[in-house]
């Protein structure tokens, strides 16, 4: 077949494939893009029950609300600092799920490995409310396990109030989050391990590679595509921490360091009732996420030589 003919026939195939998947793309359009028409609420003082035309037009008022006076500005800065701080800790440790999978695979016994893997996914199913209840029974000043044990060991121990102090909040939140999600996030890496050609391991053995060298030259490179894909997706999501975890652990004493953007938005009554404000904030976050997404993608293209998305 000539090149042109092949190209045209592959084009035709491509269009055919598109039409096969068109219904699915339609679903994506319907459930994700059509509702975006609701972004118009952010420009009005929307009150549910009234038609939009009966609501006052306010332009960019709600977008500028976080910046309107020194107190709100310093608040906005503070919560952004908290959000970024915790995100950075997350990125610094983003290799953990991958390493988890790699080292788990090194365990000798198959059966033990499976049991450990199942057990490490358990925390994922414990809701944050319960995590707090558990943390409270562990760490509370008065009757918490840790303080009680410490008192038994050292009678001069003065109870530390783990839950109601602003110190090390970012680390603590990171610790709870990691405990909860590590085993679960590692699943996809464990699955990806089997996509690595076994022949590569054989070849490495023949070349005299030891265990660690195999991990470094075969396993990890084999998992890197998955890693980068997940990394780019996470980077774009850094503003969207969700607020549940932080809401549950928040109290007056640790508020200054625990309040991330999503929690701040919730606390200000935005999510609860002011739909226009909530929509404006949602729009801003969406735009920032998308920008981050494409930037991260472009950067990874420079590093890896190919565009992931």
């Amino acid at each position: 077949m000539s090149n042109v003919k092949m190209k045209r026939s592959s084009e035709r195939e491509g269009i055919k494939l598109f039409w096969i998947t068109a219904p699915l793309l339609l679903l994506v359009l319907l459930f994700n893009y059509i509702p975006l028409l609701g972004w118009v609420y952010s420009f009005f003082d929307y009150k549910p029950g009234l038609a939009l035309k009966d609501c006052a037009f306010v332009g960019f008022k709600y977008f500028l609300l976080p910046f309107q006076n020194p107190v709100t500005r310093s608040d906005t800065l503070r919560v952004l600092k908290n959000t970024v701080g915790m995100a950075l800790i997350g990125y610094a440790t983003c290799l953990l799920p991958m390493l988890f999978a790699v080292f788990l695979a090194q365990l000798g016994s198959n059966r033990y490995r499976k049991i450990v893997q199942t057990i490490t996914t358990l925390p994922n199913f414990i809701s944050w409310i319960l995590v707090y209840a558990l943390a409270y029974s562990m760490f509370s000043t008065d009757s918490g396990f840790v303080n009680n044990v410490a008192k038994m060991i050292d009678s001069n121990w003065s109870s530390v109030n783990f839950l109601a102090s602003a110190d090390h909040m970012w680390l603590k939140m990171w610790a709870y989050g990691t405990w909860k999600s590590l085993g679960w996030t590692a699943i996809i890496y464990i699955a990806s391990l089997s996509s690595i050609d076994a022949g590569l391991y054989e070849a490495a053995s023949i070349d005299g590679a030891g265990r660690f060298q195999k991990m470094w030259y075969v396993t990890i490179p084999g998992l890197l595509p998955t890693f980068f894909v997940l990394l780019v997706m996470n980077i774009a999501n850094f503003l969207n921490t969700g607020y549940e975890q932080y809401y549950i652990f928040q109290n007056a004493m640790n508020k200054s360091t625990i309040e991330v953007l999503d929690l701040f938005v919730y606390n200000q009554g935005v999510l609860g009732h002011n739909i226009s404000y909530a929509t404006a904030v949602g729009m801003l976050k969406s735009l920032i996420s998308l920008m981050l997404f494409f930037s991260a993608n472009r950067i990874s293209k420079k590093i890896r030589g190919e565009s992931i998305f």
Binding site: L24, K114, I115, F145, W179, A198, E202, V229
Partner: protein, 298 residues
């Protein structure tokens, strides 16, 4: 070829095993704690006394939950949505992922981004609610299934995995004249068992645990899922305190003295997680099916 086990190997595996045992312990203990607290006397539980062993064994927490009328039906609905929803989502999303790996796909990059970008924006509760309403999906079982058919996050995972499959495997089938569907079902899917198994697990857990869509889109009890029933059950007991504070009606005050929400929460968690744990090992064995050996020789 069998490797010689050096002392370094032994040491490494010992340390490795030790570290993971520690991790497993940190993950297991809270769960164990929850389990023993569901069968211990509720007073001891509320005081935080039940740490290692059961104190005052009783099964009333479970009995109360299982006596909720309509629970069996709700459990069936939960099962139905999990099975059907997962099957449909995995099927469609994986096929779409496969289609996106094909370089000839019409405007591939654009459509891929079209799908992925949806992970980063949302218009909020009201527009979604209005849409579901206008589509007539209120009080309709399909609302559990249809909106989630294309899941961009899973699509990315599956696509990444498929791209690691040597293309020669598919090419030989193409030369034999196989079309997209044949190649997808006969070659790609079987080779992708690990990622498909993972996505099945993620998706099923998501379907099983979901309850907000029931609360929002279903009126009356017909399409209640087990999760929404349990959610209601939990909120029943924990809302009383603040309700009493406002309403001050005598009968709600009577109820104030019987609040034990913590034990109830533990029980509900356990009931929800148990089915997942039962089913999970079944999929776990697919995580590590390596089929690459020898496939590409020559």
């Amino acid at each position: 070829m069998v490797e010689k086990r050096t002392w370094r190997d032994v040491l490494f595996q010992a340390v490795d095993g030790f570290v993971f045992s520690l991790l497993a312990l940190i993950c297991f203990y809270p769960f164990y704690y929850i389990a023993i607290n569901t069968v211990s006397s509720n007073d001891a539980v509320a005081r935080g006394e039940v740490l290692f062993g059961i104190a005052g064994f009783h099964m009333t927490n479970y009995a109360e939950v299982f006596q909720l009328k309509g629970l069996p039906n709700a459990a069936l609905i939960s099962l139905a949505r999990t099975v059907l929803g997962t099957a449909l989502t995995v099927l469609c999303t994986s096929f779409l992922a496969y289609a996106m790996t094909r370089k000839e796909y019409w405007h591939r990059v654009f459509w891929y981004r079209f799908c992925i970008a949806t992970m980063y924006f949302s218009a909020g509760l009201i527009p979604a609610y209005l849409l579901i309403k206008r589509l007539g999906l209120f009080n309709n079982f399909l609302v559990y299934i249809i909106p989630g058919i294309v899941a961009p996050y899973y699509m990315v995972l599956i696509k990444t995995y498929i791209e690691s499959i040597p293309p020669s495997l598919e090419e030989s089938a193409m030369l034999d004249g196989a079309g997209y569907f044949t190649r997808f079902f006969r070659i790609i899917l079987p080779l992708s068992k690990p990622v498909i198994a993972s996505v099945i697990v993620f998706c099923s857990v998501g379907q099983w645990n979901s309850f907000m869509d029931t609360v929002l889109y279903m009126t009356g009890g017909r399409w209640q899922t087990m999760q929404s029933m349990l959610y209601n059950y939990l909120n029943e007991t924990s809302m009383l305190a603040s309700m009493i504070q406002r309403s001050q009606s005598v009968s709600s005050i009577v109820l104030a003295t019987r609040l034990t929400p913590v034990s109830v929460r533990y029980t509900v968690t356990f009931i929800t997680v148990l089915p997942i744990l039962v089913v999970y090992p079944f999929f776990q064995r697919y995580f590590a099916s390596g089929i690459m050996l020898g496939a590409v020789k020559g």
